[in-house]
Amino acid sequence: MEIVHVYTKDREEFGRQCLLSDRPAELLLDVLPDQNLASNFIQRSHRDQAVQAGRQVSEHQVNTERFESDSCGINHVEGGWPKDINPLDMEQTIRFRKKAEKDESYLNSIPQLGSVAEHCGRQNNAVDIYQEPFDGWEEVEESPEPPSAKTINIFRDPNEVKRTVTGLSWHPDGGRKLAAAYSCLDFQKASRDMSLDSYIWDVENPNRPELTLKPASPLVCLDYNPKDPHTLVGGSYNGQIVYWDTRRGSQPVELSSVEHSHRDPVYKIIWLQSKTGTDAFSASTDGQVLWWDVRRLSEPTERLVLDPTREGNLDRALGAISLEFEATMPTKFMVGTEQGLVVSCNRKAKTPTEKIVCTYDGHHGPVYALQRNPFFPKNFLTVGDWTARIWSEDIKESSIMCTKYQMSYLTDACWSPVRPSVFFTLKMDGMLDVWDILFKQSDPTLSLKVCDRALYSLRVQDNGRLVACGSQQGETTLLEICSELSTLQKNEKSLLAAMFERETKREKILEARQREIRLKERSRSEQSREEEIGREDGEDDPDQLIARAERDFYNQVEAELKRREMREEEALRVSHSCSLISSHFHLRASLSGRCIHCGSPGQVHTKHAGLHLSPTHLSSSDQRMFSNIHQVSFHVL
């Protein structure tokens, strides 16, 4: 429908001014809604829409993919050559170079640059830029800061099910790698999906282990070969010994045969000093210490049963929990047992009975760690139950030094390889204690809380600054100890030697005294036994026996009577003297209250005292008393 507006104007009205007037609205067109058209459309359902003037924001977390970076070198290749020149072709490059030299800008700029460079070069020659100006001065002693340690890295077990770090070993060459053995030592707590792997970590990279070791059964302990840093030997939970070569990958190179291995988890394995560098020995709670040659792990080369009675009886053997071997004393070694004894053994003994030299009875519980002091091999440290003890080889009765009983169980310890007076201990509440016995003996010098769970294994790196400790949740924490605790102080060795001497002497004296006392006791008991023996000699004649018995009897009766008389006399004298002091009224009163029987003048029988008096025994004062009593008695009666 077309709406048309027509405007008309008379010709004569052109040019006239406009006169506007108001006019009410006029409806031109009204189009009513056509309901039929509505069927072409669908009505939309209502929707609640909130309207807000504020800017809409939403929270969103993004975790980027871990960017794994790897360091490697780049080989620079020559570049920048123009397209037509082949950089490998010597002729072309030489020609190009020659052409470049003829270039004008080259000729202009090079002399300038040359003079500047020459100037600086001459400057260098004039002054020695690498000279140490304060060389001859003495080192100023810094004020001692409190000892501290810093956590550098934490290596976490990448598996879901966390296992305890039961063994640690540093790479022998500089200690940039750390091997950690993971296993679950709780009885029957190992679940089926627990991984069997152990890892070698690179100290710089805590995100990913450098190498995975895949044994057949979880490893309880492992050790790097100090002579060949690529090889490792480990003891596993099922008693087998496993040998790896890191150049050959994750699978073990060789396994010991099950029949000849240990029957219990191998708790400690250490490499030995030998010409071939392939000997190791291991200890386990089944009571055996086995020697192995890693080239042939099918059978141990030697076996020792830890029987304290030296008979080689496996039933009576002590279970071994820790081993100790010092490279400077290759024929001796020590074993710490579950029963708290430390057994010192000689490897080169001819007969098995001589192998076990002596035992030290130390702890109430298993000896978890055992190590000789690297500077004073005669003294060694043991840790077990709630104390750490230092022993001297000569004193077998007791330790020369002992820490006081700690709040929680001690699980591992080791000496610092650079400072002879410093050692580290780990506790079950997650604390690492650093003890400096020259500084303070009663308490640790530094006590750190490493983690909330128990700590199980500890290893100090050879430079003495880095300490790795492994926890129950599979975390290995790497700590750096402050420099005071890891650098040798002056006179330290001599002071410590003097301290050990002093303590050893003290123990020796105590031991000697104990022995003396014991001897005296023994001799006394022996003497009494001899007398009895002597008396029992004349038993042949029964008559004599009877006569002797009679004699003994009468003697005893007489002695008893005499004793009783003495006692009565004493008692009477005491009571009489008392009444004399106070007054004889008291006695009278007491006597009047009783029935007094006055027999013959020489006898007064007072019932209440039960005394039998005779005038010969009485003193003069008593006799006077006596007469008084007479009077009283008559009075009453």
């Binding site: 620079h76 290749v77 020559e78 570049g79 920048g80 050559w81 123009p82 190009f96 170079r97 470049a100 030299e101 800008s105 080259y106 700029s109 090079i110 002399p111 300038q112 640059l113 040359g114 500047v116 460079a117 020459e118 600086c120 070069g121 001459r122 260098n124 020659n125 020695d128 830029i129 690498y130």
Partner: protein, 91 residues
């Protein structure tokens, strides 16, 4: 000529002249070291120059010295070329 004069100084280990494209035009060291120095130092000079320019646009890099434990590398940059001198410390 000039290189000989500089090289005659005490302690100088080597000289390299590199053009703006990174090609070593003249050198007294062996090829592999030259290539390595040229490539690495080129980047360093570019970075240093841009740093100086960013701080003050009127400024420009005139000389760059890198002193290390074992020796000193002196770099003289220019519009098209730069001259690298490696010198040992005087003992």
């Amino acid at each position: 000529m000039l290189t000989r004069r500089i090289q005659g100084q005490k302690g100088v280990q080597g000289i390299i002249i590199v053009n703006s494209e990174g090609i070593p035009v003249k050198t007294t060291l062996d090829n592999s070291s030259t290539v390595q120095y040229a490539g690495l130092i080129h980047q360093l000079v570019m970075k240093a120059r841009s740093t100086v320019r960013d701080i003050d646009p009127q400024n420009d890099l005139t000389f760059l010295r890198v002193r290390s434990k074992k020796n000193e590398i002196m770099i003289a940059p220019d519009k098209d070329y730069f001259l690298i001198v490696i010198q040992n410390p005087s003992d």
